[in-house]
Assembly symmetry: C2
Homo-oligomer: 245 residues x 2
């Protein structure tokens, strides 16, 4: 027990570590991201992070209750970086596209960290700012509230889900990553037309397309559909209602 847990972020006593480093939430997150970027997700352990900081591993527990809390801080940092220096233009179609691609790109820039973080809701400042921004794009763009909310949900989850999916591919522990890639040549390239006619017929196209991310196209599809649902252009009531609750 004890009041071991973290004190609030503002006032600390800041005693330098044995090796001279002065810790802070900020420094720890940045170091973690650097560590992960340089040596892969598997390099992110409390011990290694401690070493990279020049501090005893257990010192981290003065700043984060556990590794999960650290993870959330990292996640929020990635969300923040996605929005850095960007403002909405007022064209909801272009703005959504930009937002989606930015989130996707930001996470992919740190695939190892993204993988750990993309599934979480942080509730931290960068995240709430992004939520506010996207909702604003939709509401100012003319989507009525109930629709705006549903679209927000689908849009954000799709961006994050694809980010995680693609990050996973980029972040796999080397060996596994090669295995995944090889599968497309070794297995799918050799399937006979008798048993798998469709794969055999489209294999060259398939192999080429699977190289990249499916997200940009999926995003365009979503935007196309949204245009149809938009009250001004598509006529909101006719097509949008799916049967699910």
């Amino acid at each position: 027990m004890s009041a071991r847990v973290v004190p609030e972020g503002s006032r600390q006593r800041r005693r330098p570590t044995k090796q001279g480093a002065v810790l802070s939430e900020r420094l720890i997150v940045d170091t973690a991201l650097r560590l992960v970027a340089q040596h892969g997700a598997e390099a992110l352990s409390v011990r290694r992070l401690g070493a990279a900081l020049g501090a005893d591993p257990s010192a981290l527990y003065r700043y984060f209750r556990n590794t999960d809390a650290l993870l959330l801080a990292i996640a929020d940092e990635l969300i923040g970086r996605a929005q850095e220096g960007w403002e909405a233009t007022g064209d909801w179609r272009a703005d959504l596209r930009a937002m989606g691609l930015r989130i996707h790109r930001s996470y992919l820039a740190q695939p190892q960290a993204a993988l750990l973080a993309a599934h979480r809701t942080t509730g931290r400042p960068h995240e709430t700012r992004a939520v506010e921004k996207i909702l604003g794009i939709l509401r100012d763009g003319g989507f009525p509230d109930p629709l705006a909310v549903r679209v927000y949900h689908a849009f954000v989850d799709q961006a994050l889900a694809f980010a995680a999916q693609d990050a996973a591919a980029a972040a796999l522990p080397e060996a596994a990553g090669e295995a995944d890639t090889e599968v497309w040549g070794e297995v799918y390239g050799r399937l006979p037309a008798e048993t798998h006619p469709h794969i055999a017929a489209t294999y060259p196209l398939l192999a080429a397309d699977m190289q990249g991310s499916g997200y940009p196209f999926a995003l365009e599809l979503m935007l196309t559909a949204l245009e149809a649902l938009h009250p001004d252009t598509g006529g909101g009531a006719e097509k949008g209602h799916t049967k699910r609750k």
Copy 2:
């Protein structure tokens, strides 16, 4: 080294374990899934799996080169379960919808395992069968090959990405899961209208909508867009071309 690695799946010598169990790839995968379903993803360790099987942990390495190989086997089993007892009807829209929801549901039924597996390409039989099936739906449905392939990619990645995303929410280590849920009430419910007007204005709708999965709606959006791209209905050339390579 030694020829420790796995012998091929067919002929084995099957000596019963000390506790009387007779191991097999099949039994191991099933036990792993049961273990994960009952005690969560974190319960899936070589040691615990060994214990659940009634065997020495290291015996697993006679069947799978490492834990990653075991994971792929688990992933393929989930893909298999998604298709079990379903056949295409010939209506591409309905078939895609069914496939997508089935994959999503199958993975969510084993969220802990899905989380570990949804990002991988297995190249195993169940997977190739699913790929063949989906490509068939699109090609038989009248999509020209290049478009069919792009759509396949976006569709499959969307299904798997959302499956992982939603599985993650369902699979979080209890404590973290509660934290994520609470955030919606504690943080987003209290944001003042001055700083976050859009969130404040739509909060009740938001909180309600974020409860469920964004996938069904995202899937409907994709299907709507596909209708527009389909050569017969939409007029293939006019809208589909995005600028990405």
